[in-house]
């Protein structure tokens, strides 16, 4: 494991990562509440971006319905907490299992029946929509009228029940983001990681080399679904209200894939860089528009769209591959994620 974690990363990358992490660790002591909320948003997208990237970036399976797993994670832990007072940390494994099983069902159906490419992407949207309509009529979680978590003005943060101030959520998310990065790094250099990349580049060739493509695609979906649901737990306890219409909506799924696409699909650092760039820039633009007294709904999203358009047209590999070369942080030539998708 240790060698898996340390392989293929140059010292400069380690130093850059270390400095970034140190800055993020002390950030809450320096920044004001507003900046902290933005940092939380950035970390949230950095985490989900990495989870999505395992499925699309590593294994080449395009999911456009990842809001499904966020929603399942959010609803499972929130409902268990509201109904039985179960701590989110105990609800978390349940949420991960529910999401992973759902992912397994979708993966099984899709891969067994050879639903691939665009069809697979549309199937993932269909299941997210199913969940949206289903939860709208699901009485135990209050259907379309929404599920609310009890809120109070906390002076003390209760980590066990995830009730408290934003700074607690910040550190919880930072932990998960770093853990996800370590996991992704280890995965890319593992047997499964190489198999995934083989499947991504050419599934037929991978199969003819004896890779059980069905099984490894299943691993990618299950792992990605389970990881994504962890973000859902955070979503539920941070925002304290859940509406199927919002949680499972297709725009949520799209929002979730912006960061990895802009950062660089299939790269290790790209999804995190994407989250910082996108959310950071959006806030700057937002402030700028506000300063001129112009803040119509949708302005931020139009900006997201334009960013996405520019990146997709001008930097087909995402921002990170050229950026890392410019900063001298590019991975070693033998590293698998040096060459993103052709």
């Amino acid at each position: 494991m240790r060698s898996l974690l340390l392989d293929g990363v140059s010292r400069r990358v380690w130093i850059a990562l270390g400095v970034t992490l140190a800055v993020l660790l002390i950030a809450p002591l320096i920044v004001n509440d507003y900046l902290l909320t933005i940092l939380i948003l950035i970390l949230y997208f950095a985490y989900t971006a990495q989870a999505w990237n395992i499925m699309m970036g590593f294994a080449g399976q395009l999911s456009l319905g990842h809001a499904l797993y966020v929603g399942l994670g959010a609803y499972t832990t929130a409902a268990l907490y509201v109904h039985f007072g179960l701590s989110p940390w105990l609800g978390l494994p349940v949420a991960v299992i529910v999401s992973a099983l759902t992912g397994a069902c979708i993966g099984f159906l899709a891969f067994r029946f050879r639903v691939a490419g665009v069809y697979f992407a549309i199937l993932t949207i269909a299941f997210a929509e199913f969940a949206r309509i289903g939860f709208d009529h699901f009485g135990w979680v209050n259907g379309s009228s929404g599920l609310f978590l009890p809120v109070a003005n906390y002076t003390q943060s209760d980590l066990w029940n995830l009730r408290g101030k934003p700074v607690m959520f910040y550190y919880v998310l930072l932990f998960f983001t770093v853990a996800a990065l370590a996991l992704c790094h280890a995965l890319l250099r593992s047997r499964a990681g190489y198999f995934w990349q083989a499947i991504r580049e050419d599934e037929e060739a991978a199969r003819s080399l004896g890779i059980d493509t069905f099984r490894y695609k299943m691993y990618a979906v299950v792992l990605s679904a389970g990881m994504t649901s962890v973000a859902g737990v955070f979503f539920a306890f941070y925002y304290n209200n859940l509406f199927p219409e919002q949680v499972f909506s297709i725009s949520r799924s799209v929002e979730l894939i912006l960061a990895p696409v802009i950062g660089g699909v299939g790269t290790l650092i790209g999804p995190i860089v994407g989250a910082f760039l996108l959310t950071g820039l959006a806030e700057v633009i937002w402030e700028f528009l506000n300063a001129f007294g112009f803040d119509p709904p949708g302005a931020k999203q139009v900006f997201y769209g334009i960013c996405l358009l520019f990146v997709v047209v001008l930097l087909p590999d995402g921002v990170w591959p050229p950026l890392s070369r410019a900063l001298g942080l590019a991975e070693r030539p033998d590293a698998p994620d040096d060459k993103p998708e052709a």
């Binding site: 699309m56 395009l62 456009l64 159906l109 029946f113 050879r114 639903v115 490419g117 665009v118 069809y119 992407a121 549309i122 199937l123 949207i125 269909a126 299941f127 929509e129 199913f130 309509i133 289903g134 709208d136 009529h137 379309s144 909506s249 297709i250 725009s251 799209v254 696409v261 699909v265 119509p296 709904p297 949708g298 302005a299 999203q301 139009v302 997201y304 769209g305 334009i306 996405l308 358009l309 997709v312 047209v313 087909p316 998708e341 052709a342």
Partner: protein, 290 residues
């Protein structure tokens, strides 16, 4: 419930389904030729619907008459989009094309939101509450006009692809890209033309649909999904399939709304989609996948 209710709802679903079919026809034509899935399809339709709303509220112009100019505007938009943005993407991987159109979709939805706000807009024509009595049936006049107009536009498109030299040239591009290049066809221009035609279909469908439902910016993604469901059910790339799929989904939605609750109606459309994807991935009228 008396039997007439079911029949009435079925006919109403059939007429709405024809308009859905025309919308999906645009998606199917684009995919069949250019091999790009237009993820901004529903958003283009909401754009057309807003054009119809503006023309009606400002100049009292009937959407059914404005169908042609609106389709023309969407044609130009589609042509420009294909020429400027999508043509360089036809050799890129699928997910890359997808992202490009997702970006366009996001800009369209939220652009409309900025301009028109989140409230629903509608068109109140003088014949909005008229209906025809056919035996025991009561058929909504607006839906009848819209359904008939959808058939007319679809027929014109079929005729174009069947008989017009340009239509034949487009079909040649769809059948054999390299072959079309070899015989000297300007494939990129023909692709742009095709995307324009697909956009025109959805533009015409939008002008009709605005008579039936109110428009909000958020309608875009929902109708993109609906168009996907229809073309996959009918057979992606098959023109008659899109109309058959449209009618099937239109009637399913209407029936589900009657028998269960209207809010659950799209669940049935998605159930059909999942079943088709699993058991007949080429769709009802699609060719066998190689």
């Amino acid at each position: 419930m008396p039997a007439e209710i079911y029949l009435n709802v079925a006919v109403s679903g059939l007429l709405t389904g024809l308009v859905y079919g025309l919308m999906a026809l645009g998606l199917s034509v684009i995919f069949g030729v250019v091999r790009v899935v237009n993820f901004a399809h529903g958003e283009m339709m909401t754009l057309a619907m807003y054009l119809a709303v503006v023309l009606f509220s400002a100049f009292k112009l009937d959407p059914l008459l404005m169908m042609v100019p609106i389709a023309a505007v969407l044609f130009v938009l589609g042509y420009a989009l294909q020429m400027g943005l999508i043509n360089p993407f036809i050799t890129r991987p699928e997910h890359s094309q997808f992202m490009l159109l997702v970006a366009i979709a996001i800009i369209l939805v939220n652009g409309l939101l900025i301009v028109f706000g989140p409230d629903a807009r509608s068109v109140q024509t003088s014949y909005a509450y008229d209906s025809f009595a056919v035996g025991p049936l009561i058929v909504d006049a607006t839906k009848t006009y819209a359904g008939l107009a959808a058939i007319a536009v679809a027929a014109a498109l079929f005729a174009f692809f069947r008989f017009a030299p340009l239509g034949k040239a487009i079909r040649a591009c769809a059948d054999n890209y390299t072959g079309a290049l070899v015989v000297g066809l300007d494939v990129k221009r023909l692709y742009a033309l095709t995307f324009g035609l697909g956009a025109a279909c959805v533009g015409a469908a939008g002008a009709m649909l605005v008579l039936i439902i109110d428009v909000t910016p958020q309608l875009g993604p929902a109708y993109t999904l609906l168009a996907f469901v229809i073309v996959i059910t009918g057979g992606l790339g098959s023109m008659p399939g899109a109309l058959v799929g449209g009618v099937l989904i239109g009637m399913t939605e209407a029936m589900a709304g009657l028998l269960f609750t209207p809010s659950a109606k799209s669940m049935f459309a998605f159930a059909i989609l999942v079943l088709v994807l699993l058991f007949r991935p080429q769709g009802i009228l699609g060719k066998q996948l190689s």
